[in-house]
Symmetry: C2
Subunit: 416 residues, 2 copies
Amino acid sequence: MIFQELRINPTRLISRVERLGKIGALEGGGVCRLALTPSEKLGRDHLVAEMKALGLDVAIDPIGNIFGARKGRREGPAVMLGSHIDTVATGGLYDGALGVLAGLEVIATLNEGNIETDLPVVVAAFTNEEGARFAPDMLGSLVFVGGLSLAEALDIVSIDGKRLGEELEAIGYAGTDQGPEEVAAYFELHIEQGPVLEDEKVEIGAVLGVQGISWTELTIRGRSAHAGTTPIRLRRDAGLAAARIAAGVGAFVRSMGGDQVGTVGASTLTPNLVNVVAETAVMTVDLRNPDEGLLQVAEAKLTALIEQIAGEEEVTIERRSLARFEPVDFAPALIETIDGTARVLGFSTRRLFSGAGHDAQMLARIAPAAMIFVPSVKGISHNITEYTEPADLANGANVLLQVTLKQALPTNGEEA
Amino acid sequence: MIFQELRINPTRLISRVERLGKIGALEGGGVCRLALTPSEKLGRDHLVAEMKALGLDVAIDPIGNIFGARKGRREGPAVMLGSHIDTVATGGLYDGALGVLAGLEVIATLNEGNIETDLPVVVAAFTNEEGARFAPDMLGSLVFVGGLSLAEALDIVSIDGKRLGEELEAIGYAGTDQGPEEVAAYFELHIEQGPVLEDEKVEIGAVLGVQGISWTELTIRGRSAHAGTTPIRLRRDAGLAAARIAAGVGAFVRSMGGDQVGTVGASTLTPNLVNVVAETAVMTVDLRNPDEGLLQVAEAKLTALIEQIAGEEEVTIERRSLARFEPVDFAPALIETIDGTARVLGFSTRRLFSGAGHDAQMLARIAPAAMIFVPSVKGISHNITEYTEPADLANGANVLLQVTLKQALPTNGEEA
């Protein structure tokens, strides 16, 4: 393979991660760049400046996705390297940022080598991947692939009551450009965010696909009452109903075993006072499984649980789907390319499913897509202690570089 | 009995309730006058003005308790009629306010009749009875009876992070006066806040005492992690632990039956996001029973539950007592006076325990104390739909007037 000896610059890659990590940095480590907030705007400004410094043509589309294009010898479908730079409220430096910044590092390496590719290479940062401020998650890539209309997306209201369209305008990222018309292949380098690679001492994960995701919001309505004088039999306690549902989710997820996971990450009582029986509770249930059939089993268990508790606690429970994605399989040829390339580079590899949702699963709707995973220390992510070893970051970026060359160079490579 | 035909003015009493109810009024009904907030300050200003208009000598003590004194023929221990005007965040018009405003109505009735009592009659409004903003509840009366030092009380920090002493200063109610040195008898008229009187169609409750109260705050610390990629076996989910404890409290309270009640009214997760396993949960547990032994049984069950869940969910749980009051018995002679007087006035009566804490239980430490209950529609309180029929308000105030006369007039009444 031509350019097989080409490598990214590890020091420069780490510097990229550290510099973006200073934007929205939290005391004690980690970052908070919730989508379309002032700190995320600063992250976007930084990214756009870096893209321009590398000579990329920057395009912002109407949902705020950022594309930086390096021209190819011909105008054809783009090889796209992407991820996101928004984070959860207590996020780490690597989730999302790595895929975008490694894309920049690939561009920098191609520039240094004066390497002209046949196809354009585009680095992409998609809007609101985390879904921590606007539901659903993976919103920017969903709109990009046509899975949700722009008008609907702009009308989404954030957890802090702001309309997405106005928040985009407010930070100056309601663009008028369009992203690449056609994508030849999409690669996303990402930290695993789970413990498998580290446990098995594997350096590179070739990702088979993404587990299915089901997010439900429950609004439980009871009756507020004095906590001292209202006999138990006369109560309609929304807080107790919420607790029993959350505990029940924990129990049925454990009983299912296997790859099933379930989380009640958010739960808010009103009025939330020590001596008042809660009148309402709003809670979320996050269920995931790589097997669609099993995910549906979990959803059915949730439905039965809700009906049981609503009856027993004499409360009403309104449910709303915040997100529902079936499991996604990545392109077999790209999985094979990633796995084979990593082994040629001397890395140990493993194929595995992703436990988290990623923009790649949206891109898979319109183009061959696949992901490269590198190990997460202790499997921790969405946490300020999220960490990946510098060597692993560099390994992943080198795999990204090589698979990009394979897709973007002419098939026979003789003109390069 | 002399003055046995004397009655309060029902229209004027309702007007008192309605006028105070406009201060801190919520859309849709009810009021929010959390202790020492700007809206409660306005309520205090209104009360002080009403007291002065009735010719009372107003004294504000260093914890902000308000006393309005009507002189007696001699300087002796005072007959005190009191309660509180602070409310929970979504409170009603009657809880607390009735006891204070009926006290004013008693004074107005005495004034109209040019009735000179032997002992002074004092109307009292105690600071922070609800405990919704500062723990413990019944704080002002607790300090008044010497159960908590002023210095400690002033250092208490509110749920919104403010020091009590500074909040008192800010609203101008850090007084320098002292309340009555000696209390001959304390009467508190209050809505039942429970369903018993209404269910049994009884007009006046003679309160036997107050059930014991145990408030505990739990701080649960786990580890935040990605909700999709962290296998269940590797989680330390503070939210799941909190839910299991809240559901467990609900279960053991039901299994104990009898008069035991238990409530998890407040529970807050951090970071409280759909796709992040909660790192911390802070929750409160409110346990009450009129029997001290059974209350201790409930507390022991809570302790066992906490230890079990901490172990099973691999979280740490820190516990802090927010309040602990043993059951209180009221003065038998005053209970008999209330019950007998009400029957003489033609009302049906019943003796019962209070399910809620009241300032009267603090006063009972230093003086004979008792309470008069009137029915609560549907037993609802700490809720904007809290309601008591006008006739019941008037009945309760007339009982208050008559028992006040019995205590404050000379024993033989011949000089009146």
